[in-house]
């Protein structure tokens, strides 16, 4: 029956059920990703940010929160210019982190 309104999906992140396979694999390959402090330097300097809202900070966080679609959308404009790597105060190799992430499929497996 059409009531003219619908159940809206919850925007809450349920950490019990969130699919973190891609994140888990990423931190296995790039343990430095764990040390992100969410300062946002990477987002502030990002060349691609105007076109996709790219932010390495949000990418790392989004993966932990199971927001893979948002992550992929952000990654879709990354130009690998390396500015984020230069400004990261924790010395995270963000550029390689992005490359590594682009190689992982939804299940966190590297495509061959």
């Amino acid at each position: 029956m059409d009531f003219g309104f619908k159940l809206s999906p919850s925007s809450a992140v349920n950490l019990d059920t969130v699919d973190r396979r891609r994140y888990d694999r990423l931190v296995q390959l790039e343990p430095d990703a764990l040390t992100c402090i969410g300062c946002g330097s990477c987002s502030a300097t990002c060349t691609a940010a105007p076109w996709s809202g790219m932010s390495v900070r949000k990418v790392i966080l989004g993966l932990q929160r199971g927001r893979d679609d948002e992550v992929d959308a952000m990654l879709s404009r990354c130009m690998l210019c390396g500015k984020c790597t230069m400004v990261c105060p924790r010395g995270i190799n963000t550029r390689h982190l992005i490359l590594t992430l682009c190689r992982l499929d939804k299940n966190g497996e590297a495509v061959r």
Binding site: M1, F3, G4, F5, K6, L7, S8, P9, S10
Partner: protein
Amino acid sequence: MIYQGKQKIWADYQKEIPDDHWFYVRSCIRQNFFPASEKYFLKICRDLLGRDIYESEHHTTCAGIAYHCDTIPQETAMTVVARQFALMTEAGYDNLVTSCITSFGNYTEILETWREFPELEEKIREHLWKACRREFNKPKYIAHASDLVYKLRGEIAERARYQLVSRATGEPLRIVEHIGCHYSKMFPHKGVGGAEYPCVLSGMAEAWGGQVIDYPERRHCCGFGFRQYFVKANRGYSLSNTHKKFESMEPYHPDMIITNCPGCPYFLDRWQYVIAEMEGKTYGQNGYGIPAFTYEELAGLVLGVDPWDLGLQVHQVAVEPLLDKIGIPYDPAKKYLGMDEKKIKTPGLPATLKCC
């Protein structure tokens, strides 16, 4: 769950509720949704327990709905409330008991505001005088009707004909208590048991033999939310909140829900039908829903009032399985008979949610 821990908190949040002599103000909407609730509250208090509760036909809305919908400013709401106080003062009462949770919250909020800003109170007095030449004393005590029933729960239990237990097994019924948001979330000390673990309804449930269940989304809003429900575009949001609560309470297999707010039982009752239509999901046993009651209906039930006199036939969710479980007799044939014993219309049965 450490029950003693809750008791400790309850001990900190006991409010003073005078035993007698109350000025009663009704809810705007309850008489439509749950027509017998207010009537039976008065009946039980006055006739059964012998309390003095006065009601004036001149009282109006407290303007809480309009205030919460941002359609009137607070000062207007305050003046409306001041008029109720004036009616109470004129009738010679000091204690105000409200039927509606939002009214309770509204009155409390206004009194607290006046306490902080006495100049505002003066201004409102002037407004009231200009508007209708009335003067008022502030009530000494404000209680919600559920506070009063909580206070009288022992006396009701003594006179109860039924216990909230399963007749077949003797097990206490599993009861979800849902407190209206405006009851104590704004002023925890104004609610019995505070805001986090209120005991106003759980106290009744336990006194009448039931067992309260503590599910994760216990504190969550029923989903009414004036602005969410009234605007159709936002109505899905309202529904989603209710859905969230049902999903959370589902594993506990509750037998019933009791509430102390006008909107909550309505939404917790009617949305079960909508969810069943949308999702094909029902939350009660055997395809039925979980019946949602007002505390007055519950008090009426345990005291042996005929379910149809309590207006349970206007509930969306069928109450019959629960009545059977407790062992309360009812006559199915009389379900849709009006006051004059003539048949009122029988509603059509929904497709998914099982009803009687």
